[in-house]
Amino acid sequence: MGLYQYEITDIKKTERIDRLIANLFAKMPEIESARARLITESYKETENEPVIMRRAKAFAHILENIPIIIRDDELVVGSSTIAPRGCQTYPEFSYEWLEAEFDTVAARSADPFYISEEAKREIREADRYWKGKTTSELATAYMEPETLTAMEHNMFTPGNYFYNGVGHVTVQYEKVLAIGYEGIRAQAQELLAKCDMGDGNYARKARFLQAVIISCDAVINYANRYAALAKELAGQCKDAARRAELLQISENCSKVPAKGAESFYEACQSFWFVQQLLQLESSGHSISPGRFDQYMYPYYEADRKKGTLTKEFAQELIDCIWVKLNDLNKCRDAASAEGFAGYSLFQNLIAGGQNGDGVDVTNDLSFMTIQASMHVQLPQPSFSVRVWNGTPHEFLIKAAELTRTGVGLPAYYNDEVIIPALINRGLTLKDAREYNIIGCVEPQKAGKTEGWHDAAFFNMCRPMELVFSQGKDKGVQVGVVTKPVEEMKEFEEFYDAYKEQMNYMIKLLVNADNAIDVAHAQRCPLPFLSCMVDDCMNRGLSVQEGGAIYNFTGPQGFGVANMADALYAIKTLVFDEHKATLKEFKEAMATNYGKGLTREMVGDMTAQIATGLKAAGQTIGEKEIAAIMKTVIETSEMPAVKENGERLLKLIGEVPKFGNDIPEVDAFARDVAYTYTRPLQEYKNPRGGIFQAGLYPVSANVPLGAQTGATPDGRLAGTPVADGVSPSAGKDVNGPTAAANSVARLDHYIASNGTLFNQKFHPSALSGREGLEKFVALIRAYFDQKGSHMQFNVVSRETLLDAQKNPDKYKHLVVRVAGYSALFTTLSRSLQDDIINRTEQGFGA
């Protein structure tokens, strides 16, 4: 034992891990049809039974019959598809999009999937049953017409749960590890025995508990299939070492997850079945392992004390799980795939932090989980670390070493903000202290929460566009009819109009989310998931029906920086300094600041004019449309238009921007963020919980930016909207500390569904122990100021090359050399090349 209480050893990666990774990524992921076929078979047999029983029986039927495989070299087994990184389909949520994309899904640029003709045929055949039976169709039927219109006009996108399962949960892994599904089954049986047929909720509760029993049996049966397969493979195996491994696997699977785990290895296998089968039940993503270092530690510690487990083997098992987390996959529709690019399932796993008593519980496994992410260098798990004032320094240094590898992990989370933020939402102190992260950045208490995190993308720029059009989009009244901007005399009038458009869109968003929520409860309650979330069993309700102790809905807003800059520019230029008028802004935005119209803009404006003319009684044919289109394009190219655009862009450029540590602008941004976070928290969801805002976009700020017109911050039409709570790309020019100071001035407590702050660093900033120390200090200092989350990209050669091509996007890119002053993007090509070469050498400057 060294200076610290932890046994920190850098255990080498074994060759097995390299082989597992190579096998996993050998070919394009594939869509398989077994699940679609099996669930449909089962549903046809259970018409008119309670939906919870139908779900349980279908789950059992799938687990009884789905093909299984043990991949070469695996120590922890359980695969939902025969093909590595393959995916099953989930027609009970939606299916039309997949059929429509059958012939393009293998060729698309974001996350392609191979699909065989046979699979297409089987899936098509199964899908025929689901017409009119999906959650998506029921949700649509629950929505109001104006909500559907707003969605059609891309005001917000509740796509995730509209078309898929919800996922976004962390269950009681520790319960399965301790008592197994036999134990949970026994609990269900006991509760069932206590139910009285005369109780008001008997019918529902009894069926729910029976569904739990069926689900537990199904999982035990599934594990037994693996035990048999492993034994069979061992019989055929000529290699003695592998034969022994397979026999061990067989023994493990015949014991867990039926019973409680008695060794670290069994705990690993038991954990894996939970993780894998939750996804096979529901198709949701962001099913997050959470505090793996905590619930696995007792098994690790016991084996180490007994002397039955080496650190090396423990590390190899953890590495194996890390690889397996990348074996799970999900096919999304083409548009969503762009928003979530990278086949990501966002299985968030977090290390470090406090226990319920507020004591730091970082342990040896916390360090080994970091090591695993360094070993596998893969996107899953979405690895996170918890940071508080009592976090051991060496733990953060180890985390910083992972950041330095350039894999984009870990994400750092601030206990000092998140714990009080959760308490403010009604969690107990103890539960709040035990939080983990779901998906991207969303905190919750595991095993007690249905958080509906990631409930929608809400683009804060779109209501701004509506202010200038009195609520119209493409000629359709989508928003509120606010006063024409030309008649506004005070900034407050303008700001109020923005708030009015925001409030209205937020209400429609709530309507959309709640409609989907009800549809899931009625069509896809999940008994297996629910037996691992309190207090479902006692209440006799699935999580979808409100069985969880804590219930939230968390749709995420993005574009705070754009709207802060936009509103500040309008306040400054129009109302304080009188250098421009709102009419000029309106014209400049409609003509994309004279920078040329995007195809979408031409189409929209033509449609708008045509609709107007039709309404006035004119006949509009193809010829007329062509003429309108020509006028639209010509108008946008008139010198006066270009001049107005140029002039405004220059004026906007001179107005101070969010992200530069200017207190007045930052205070303004804080207020702008409230236009989303405050109205939202007043709404309730059908599970008895409230709405809470997040401020993060995943990667949707790019595709959704493409659907957004020019904005008053000088952002051109179709370009990305700002990422999370980060400043607009290229607008923060005073370096990372200034940007962090600005971002910390937002209210992160109220955005309790999470905020996301990304920074880019040149690798030289992290070179040597000294670099790591300074990097950790930067995180600490941001967290001192009550920022909630921070994540880093250490820039690669490719990023720097991109910065050469697109300097405007990278004005914030800092390259530090002793005693030298300049920004990367102001350097000439050849000097930038020098820096790129330094990047490759990893030269400490």
């Binding site: 100071n741 030298y820 102001t826």
Partner: protein, 272 residues
């Protein structure tokens, strides 16, 4: 008396999150004006005291502005959370800060007063009385020694090195500040093992014969030449005389580091 906070001076940049210029995360205030004219200088806009126009990325940019100590400290103060967590603070750089002795002193004094750690990158090229007036407010002197040969020093920087070498001894003997030696490693000027070793031997002598606590020579930094200042020469309408010089390679730098380390017995590192 708050008067010293009204002292005016001329700067050309304030750079936050500087991580190679003293301990921790620092804010560098770049003072304008220099006594030397080093051929490799990466901040040529620092050399003239007069306010200049430099073309940066195709746009004219005014280089140099007159500010009070108080104005500068407002900006320096903004990153206090980072100094606190990293042990960082304020670093004066240039130019040669000693060209504006009162301003430099009052900046350091104001930082001290505010509890902010102070450092200064400087060649020590001024009368010792000037340095002496600054030392009470300085935590860490990052002292440049570029060459031991006076003639060669003069040829490449425009001035001989006697005054600076003499000052180095006095700074070491003052017992008032921590001291680190920085050697810019410039091909064709000082990048041979012999030349670097000569400086290292001098550093050893400073340590053994002159240094008085806490002026132990903490470290020797070898700063590899880079040509990142090249554009600025063009931007100022000046010719860059080192166009054909390539930065020293990693292996060569390591060789020099070992030589310096052996000759001085001090901790030597590549980079700041």
């Amino acid at each position: 008396m708050e008067d010293y906070k009204q002292t005016k001076g001329r700067i050309f940049d304030i750079q936050k999150f500087s991580i190679h210029d003293g301990d921790g995360i620092r804010t560098i205030v770049f003072l304008k004006g220099c006594v030397l004219r080093c051929r490799w200088c990466c901040n040529p806009e620092s050399q003239e005291y007069t306010i200049q126009t430099m073309t940066v990325a195709g746009e004219p940019k005014i280089i140099g502005r007159d500010v009070t100590v108080e104005e500068v400290m407002k900006t320096v103060e903004q990153d206090r959370p980072y100094y606190y967590r990293s042990g960082g603070g304020l670093t004066l750089s240039g130019g040669e800060s000693l060209c504006q002795p009162q301003f430099a002193r009052d900046l350091l004094r104001a930082a001290r007063e505010m509890g902010i750690n102070t450092a200064m990158e400087s060649m020590g090229c001024a009368k010792y009385e000037v340095i002496e007036s600054i030392l009470p407010y300085l935590d860490h002197y990052l002292l440049d020694i570029k060459h031991m040969n006076p003639a060669k020093h003069k040829e490449f920087t425009g001035r001989s090195n006697e005054l600076m070498l003499e000052n180095a001894k006095k700074i070491a003997a003052s017992g008032q500040t921590r001291l680190s030696i920085r050697i810019p490693v410039i091909p064709t000027f000082n990048d041979t093992v012999e030349e670097i070793r000569a400086i290292a031997v001098y550093a050893k002598e400073l340590q053994n014969r002159y240094a008085k606590e806490p002026c132990n020579i903490e470290k020797i930094h070898l700063l590899p030449y880079h040509r990142l200042g090249q554009d600025k020469y063009e931007g100022l309408g000046r010719e860059y005389l080192m166009k054909d010089i390539l930065p020293p390679g990693t292996e060569h730098m390591e060789k020099l580091r070992q030589a310096a380390s052996q000759a001085s017995g001090l901790v030597c590192q590549i980079g700041g």
